[in-house]
Symmetry: C2
Subunit: 198 residues, 2 copies
């Protein structure tokens, strides 16, 4: 509908996830009216992320070098690996500052409907990392949903015989939440996982 360049931009923006046609139009007009230098920086950031960012050869986290900052860091505890679905999960856990081990990013979760089986995930590479005796514990931190649980179950089957301690993140009530608003599955898990106070 718009003349060439404006419509091209709206089309390209509309292909990004979570940006509908109305949002794409709004963002396009913002870009049109914004400072040229700022928008050149945005365009460069898009190109540069594709050129510079790779995936860590050890843990598959995003990285600008062959291995990521976390795998390179000598102060991290190499005896414990936390297995997550995505790089975003690494960042979420890093923000808690409560984990000082290494990570392994699977690159998704087992989802037969979307055609993602174990062979599409970095599970073989995880097994390779466990082949010497360095790692003592693997924390399975896949999402607490259907696909994440299926992936966790699969990992337990694959790693169960290696003599490594396998753990799963606790499910329960979110801190700051209201008990009466918790769904029954979460509340059930909170009961199962109850801790002794004495």
């Amino acid at each position: 509908m718009y003349e060439g360049a404006v419509q091209d931009l709206i089309d390209e923006l509309g292909r990004l996830p979570g940006i509908g046609p109305k949002s794409a139009q709004r963002v396009a007009f913002h870009i049109l009216e914004a400072d040229t230098e700022d928008m050149r920086r945005l365009a460069e950031a898009i190109v540069s992320v594709k050129e510079k960012v790779k995936f860590c050869q050890i843990c598959f986290n995003v990285s600008e070098q062959e291995t990521c900052r976390i795998c390179q860091d000598d102060r991290r505890d190499r005896s414990i690996i936390c297995v997550v679905e995505e790089s975003k999960d690494v960042m979420a856990i890093e923000r808690t500052r409560s984990f000082r081990g290494l990570y392994h990013v699977l690159g998704g979760s087992i989802n037969p409907i979307a055609g993602i089986g174990p062979e599409q995930l970095h599970i073989r590479e995880l097994l390779n990392r466990l082949s010497d005796d360095t790692v003592q514990e693997v924390i399975v931190a896949t999402d607490p949903n259907l696909e994440g649980e299926a992936t966790a179950t699969y990992l337990v089957r694959m790693l169960g015989s290696l003599g490594i301690s396998l753990t799963r993140l606790a499910s329960g009530l979110p801190v700051g939440g209201d008990l009466e608003y918790a769904d029954e599955v979460t509340l059930g898990r909170a009961f199962e996982g109850r801790r002794s106070l004495s």
Copy 2:
């Protein structure tokens, strides 16, 4: 939090309107995983819109040339001008295919709180367009909100003495809407503007 290029991209995306930190992260990871050629096209579309797109010298609609497609189109009725706030409004009206005249884009609406007075809008240029006898009617199609109504009132004061027919878009119930859910102002306007059926 992320390594260089990824965090740069998240920061730049987060500055766009309507894209919060979570969305910026999601879009950044999508860009990271998307086809390189597609993302180069997006980056080029951003730069190109800044380089190519100007504003029409007659009506201030977005345009890739000195004057926009609509002002250049000989089949449009030059005796009627529809005054709108933004280029987006031109597109919205064009989609209805019910208007065949020309437009005039004010570039916003009078908003004293945001420091936008009549002199910041393209009102002087509108008066210049009305200085010969070509234009017979001006349709004031500013938004039906406080700022749009204030702008309409101002325009009526400025153009009232020119002997040109001045009209305002009808306010009333949205087609397909429910009467019981209409706000009282809209319902009031629908009563005022009721049409004879006989």
